[in-house]
Symmetry: C2
Subunit: 452 residues, 2 copies
């Protein structure tokens, strides 16, 4: 039976099964929900087994339980690992929901519930695509599922879980549906995620706060100095001035840049959304490129001296800032972390003490669009949507994707079907039924294309 026909014939059952999962209020941040977390995991196991998984069970982790299940054809076949999460965000403020968040309904062509998109709705498409390819005898690759319960709280237990189950998780590619489409009807593969470097800078001037009248003008003010240091880190073209900062940035070909810029973009809308009169970014790049394929430099916080009401005069002893850079392929966050630290400490004028602490870092992620798995996903999209996907470079980070690459040595294909209007993490979360159905169909086509 054609996938579309199978989906249409079974959609009521699919929804009833999905709703069973949605009805479990598996809010991972809520300490009162431990039983619900396990229950959601068990619902997943039931449906994986029903779909045809050879084995599927609930595994313990350092936090909420993890579901793993699989269908293994043999070592000679390539392996796809489906990653998803069964946990959801809290629902406050409850009074803003038009319908109870854990009582799913279909209305106006959309599924309405907490988790309808993120990630119960999107992940369940994988269960149903898996069911189809097994029932139809089409499966030509091994399939493994890894479904965690802590994605919304930072996936803290997952890295250790991966280490402990490295063999069971071995695969050739990871398939994830937890992202979105750049606009309705436009299939999208998130092919880039920025990494991060994060620093805290402490500038010490005099050893104690001084009277700004008696000493002002003769003793360096650490806030003035910190401002100069920060100002000097970018130039008038909004490029980072630290030597070596761009050394490992992969410059995209003009064809790649053309593809990246397919993302719909309206400057007036963008400015209105963030509430600015004008945009500001690295010279020579579009907004889409500035947030997708170029590193950024932001001061996330700054403090020092007097910030109360009125006009207290002081020449403070200390000033602080939290600095961050979003990184892109192939920047190494460890190297960049050290680069800025050493740049600032080395160039500190002798009238202040400068200490820089590298607080945090994360690898950028990039999925080349010419690898077989991406190409398979692209052809699947074309078959279902009638057009090729946009390779979307997201400015944000999904740390676990970099962790997968680091620990399992494989790329992830971020094939998401959410829309901006889905209100994930907000009241009245929803997911268009059409996206749910097209998502299942696209995943089915992916299996067909990936292992012909």
């Amino acid at each position: 039976m054609e996938p579309k026909k199978y989906i249409d014939q079974n959609i009521d059952r699919f929804l009833e099964e999905l709703f069973e999962l949605i009805r479990v209020p598996s809010i991972s941040s809520d300490g009162q929900r431990k039983e619900d977390m396990r229950k959601a995991a068990e619902v997943w196991v039931k449906h994986l087994l029903a779909a045809g998984a050879e084995k599927a069970s609930v595994f313990e982790s350092d936090g909420h339980p993890v579901v793993m299940g699989e269908k293994i054809l043999g070592d000679e076949f390539p392996t796809v690992l489906v990653y998803a999460h069964y946990d959801v965000m809290p629902v406050d403020p409850l009074e803003l929901w038009d319908h109870p968040p854990f009582d799913p309904i279909v209305k106006d062509g959309r599924i309405w519930a907490r988790g309808a998109d993120d990630d119960k709705g999107q992940s369940f498409m994988h269960a149903k695509a898996f069911e189809y390819v097994l029932r139809e005898g089409l499966l030509k690759c091994n399939v493994k599922f890894l479904i965690e319960g802590e994605e919304e709280i930072g996936s803290a237990s997952l890295p250790a879980f991966i280490d402990a189950h490295r063999e069971q998780l071995a695969c050739d590619v990871i398939l994830v549906s937890d992202t979105g489409m750049v606009k309705p009807g436009q299939p999208t593969i998130t092919s880039g995620l920025r990494g991060l470097s994060y620093w805290e800078v402490e500038v010490t001037g005099p050893s104690r706060d001084l009277h700004s009248g008696l000493f002002g003008g003769a003793v360096a003010n650490p806030i003035n100095v910190l401002c100069k240091m920060i100002a000097g880190l970018t130039d008038e073209r909004n490029k980072v001035t630290v030597p070596g900062f761009y050394n490992d940035v992969r410059e995209l070909s003009s064809e790649e840049r053309r593809l990246v810029n397919q993302v719909p973009y309206d400057e007036a809308d963008y400015k209105a959304e963030v509430g600015v009169k004008a945009l500001c970014g690295e010279y020579g790049y579009t907004t889409t490129e500035r947030t997708g394929i170029r590193p950024s430099f932001d001061v996330c916080g700054i403090w020092g001296g007097f910030s109360g009401e009125g006009a207290k005069t002081v020449l403070p002893s200390k000033a602080y800032a939290k600095l961050s850079s979003r990184l892109v392929a192939n920047q190494d966050y460890v190297a960049i972390g050290q680069l800025l630290k050493s740049h600032l400490e080395t160039h500190a004028p002798d009238y202040v003490d400068v200490k820089v602490q590298v607080l945090h870092g994360g690898k950028p992620y990039e999925c080349p669009i010419d690898i077989p798995a991406y190409q398979a996903a692209a052809r699947a999209c074309e078959t279902v949507f009638g057009k090729l996907p946009v390779p979307y470079k997201s400015g944000g980070s999904i740390p676990i994707i970099s962790t997968f690459e680091e620990k399992l040595g494989v790329k992830s294909i971020l094939l998401g079907f959410g829309l901006a209007s889905d209100a994930i993490h907000s009241p009245n979360e929803n997911f268009p039924l059409d996206n749910f159905k097209k998502g299942i169909e696209t995943i089915i086509q992916f299996y067909k294309e990936f292992a012909k």
Copy 2:
């Protein structure tokens, strides 16, 4: 009788009278001390009358009472107004005092008590010098006293009091002993006080805090922008870059600069005192000049974004700073306030909104060293100490001195005898007996020199 002999003969009585004043715990900031404030004022009245004032009484103000007293010879004589204050600072932490603060003693050649220097000891020298010139029939000018009870809490009620008693306070010069000597044995006249401009800057980027991953690089970060703005306000020679900022700064002659630099200064000591490895200030000026005769630019506070523990990423909506400049003669704080406000607002890039509020301001004060009253004080110092006074340019501000000039149109001679070791505002405040006696003598000589 020679002044010195008179002082030596009467010193025990002088001290007993001063101690009566000191024993009243007239802490102006302490709401429980209202009766003591009045009592201290009454002690002053008693001693002014005893010294020979024609009239002296306690006057009401909007705050603590004010003492006025006078000896008027006639309209044809010049008038000296002595300004002082009878209030003192709190005494906490009491356990650090070696002797109870309001139980004065003389030990090791010093008077030990709260107010021993600031300003009961210093002001009482005026009462006794006044007594001497009257008893000896030497007075050749009118003398008025104005002794307030709110100096340590900002003299809030005094401007209105001056307005209400402008005629009674009319004078040709004001004489004040509430400052110090640059070193023991070196008479000092504080001939300059810096003024102040104080601003609060608010920079708004996006209308709400943004995800630094999704928007970082494309939307201006208000902290980055604020740092650039602040950095741009001074150049590599540490000069303020705002056009017009230095227009009204009086450039001192090389002879004046030589006098100013007589202040003892040891760079190693200075650096050790403030705890820095190197000093930093306007190119072409000494430390003494940088804090005395040149304006400064300090950021007194800065804040924006995230300042908690850890590495929270955010592209904040707003950033703030408190800026201040100490001003020197003849800068107009109103004009400078507007100058920087308009400079920052006019040069704000179009991708942020910049609002600058002028929060506060105060006039710089300068006493020319060639006016008769200064010259009289200088000769008086020379007679008593054997050397001319240093014209000391203080970097701080004493707002009431500018207020006197503004409201009464006269200069103040700041002829102080305190030492750095006097520990004013601290436990174990003290005042060398020798300074007390030489102070009385110098003031007597001033009267002789001022109105020959």
